[in-house]
């Protein structure tokens, strides 16, 4: 039996349902531990996504470089971070994108948490 997880605003806990939904996307991102695979993705993104069997929603989220959509499609941030690395995005860029802030505003928000 699956335990109901609490509803935390703006948060998706990565449970079994997410892990099943996102398997192909996460498996592709896991492959990016290899430089050769990162190059293959950059050479032909369509072919690379097809090879891992991404569904239409996952493919579109990757095409749009949209992290929230990738999470909705079952992506786990630990694996998605490897895709972000290929795209030259760090975790402040990801934070800015997901919160709809500018990068500067997001960085300022982090600093403000220390005061």
């Amino acid at each position: 039996m699956r335990r109901q997880l609490p509803d935390i605003p703006g948060t998706t806990l990565f449970d079994g349902a997410q892990a099943m939904k996102g398997y192909a996307l996460n498996k592709m991102c896991y492959s990016f531990n290899s430089a050769e695979n990162r190059e293959a993705f950059l050479r032909d993104e369509d072919a690379y996504c097809a090879r891992y069997g991404l569904n239409a929603g996952q493919r579109e989220a990757v095409r749009r470089r949209n992290v929230l959509e990738m999470i909705a499609a079952g992506g786990n941030v630990y694996y998605l971070a490897k895709l972000a690395g290929i795209l030259g995005l760090d975790v402040q860029d990801l934070g800015a994108q997901q919160t709809g802030m500018t990068r500067d505003a997001f960085v300022a928000k982090l600093a403000a948490a220390g005061r």
Partner: protein, 281 residues
């Protein structure tokens, strides 16, 4: 007999690896973080541990969702670091202590902790960055290691109490090891941070502060929370404080803080550091 000389808990943010490689220790952004470490370096120089047992969480280097152990332990003569995909420098292989590993495995499984055992295990930044922070510039690592990996990728995660008790069981097992070894236990990760979702950037200084205050004398305090509650309080990756609880469990008994540091932010994270020793009750 083997003896636990102390426990160290520290954050393991990947950006630290980059900062070390670029020698940014005195840079204004990094100084409040790196300045926390010299007292720990002096303590390590005095206590000279032979072995570090390191509780950490893999971030998709060694383990994928095809096989995701809740608790895994290394039993290898050495552990290799490898490319994680986003470009921090790879560190040289770290020596293991397979004889101690198997002693721990025997004791843990006998004590109902059914570990996944790994004779090959890639270790990621959560394992290597703390080593680089604690033994900077040493080139050759001065300790042998036993990695203990706790799943924080895929729910359900083990409870805070279960992680604490795993640590206690490892602590007892270390101290039943017949060889005269000085062992430091290390817990890496946290403190509060959240990388994913509209709530990205969440940090909870009040909770972290109380957690660090309670950990030495009242480690069970944090175990009152379920892991999802901890995710709400500390962020989705803040649950890495499970590693701190395991290290504290391994230290055992009554404990005191010898040194601590806390700084916001390092990357998206509230960075914490503690050095604890056992205190006679």
């Amino acid at each position: 007999m083997a003896r636990i000389v102390g426990a160290i808990t520290t954050s393991h943010v990947p950006a630290i690896g980059r900062a070390i490689a670029r020698n940014l220790h005195q840079d204004a952004y990094w100084k409040p973080f790196f300045d926390g470490f010299p007292p720990v370096h002096r303590w390590l120089a005095q206590t000279r541990p032979d072995v570090a047992v390191i509780f950490y969480n893999d971030h998709g280097l060694n383990f994928f969702l095809d096989k995701m152990p809740t608790f895994a332990i290394g039993a290898a003569p050495q552990y290799r670091n490898a490319d994680e995909g986003w470009g921090i420098p790879t560190l040289p292989p770290i020596p293991g202590d397979p004889r101690l590993s198997w002693h721990l495995i025997e004791a843990l499984v006998a004590g109902d902790f059914d570990m996944t055992t790994c004779q090959e295990m890639l270790v990621d930044h959560a394992f290597t960055i703390p080593l680089a922070l604690l033994w900077p510039g040493s080139g050759a690592w001065p300790v042998r290691t036993v990695p203990v990996c706790i799943n924080t990728v895929q729910y359900p995660l083990p409870s805070a109490l279960r992680c604490y008790r795993l640590g206690q069981a490892i602590g007892r097992a270390i101290e039943s090891y017949p060889e005269d070894l000085r062992v430091v236990v290390i817990g890496t990760g946290g403190l509060s941070h959240q990388l994913d979702g509209e709530r990205a950037g969440f940090i909870n200084k009040a909770f972290d502060t109380e957690f660090m205050q309670r950990l030495p004398g009242d480690p069970l305090w944090a175990t009152r929370y379920s892991v999802p509650e901890l995710a709400e309080l500390t962020g989705t990756q803040g649950v890495e404080l499970l590693m701190w609880l395991a290290a504290r469990g391994a230290l055992g008994g009554e404990a005191a803080t010898l040194h601590s540091n806390y700084h916001i932010p390092i990357s998206n994270t509230a960075a914490g550091l503690m050095l604890m020793e056992r205190r006679a009750a």
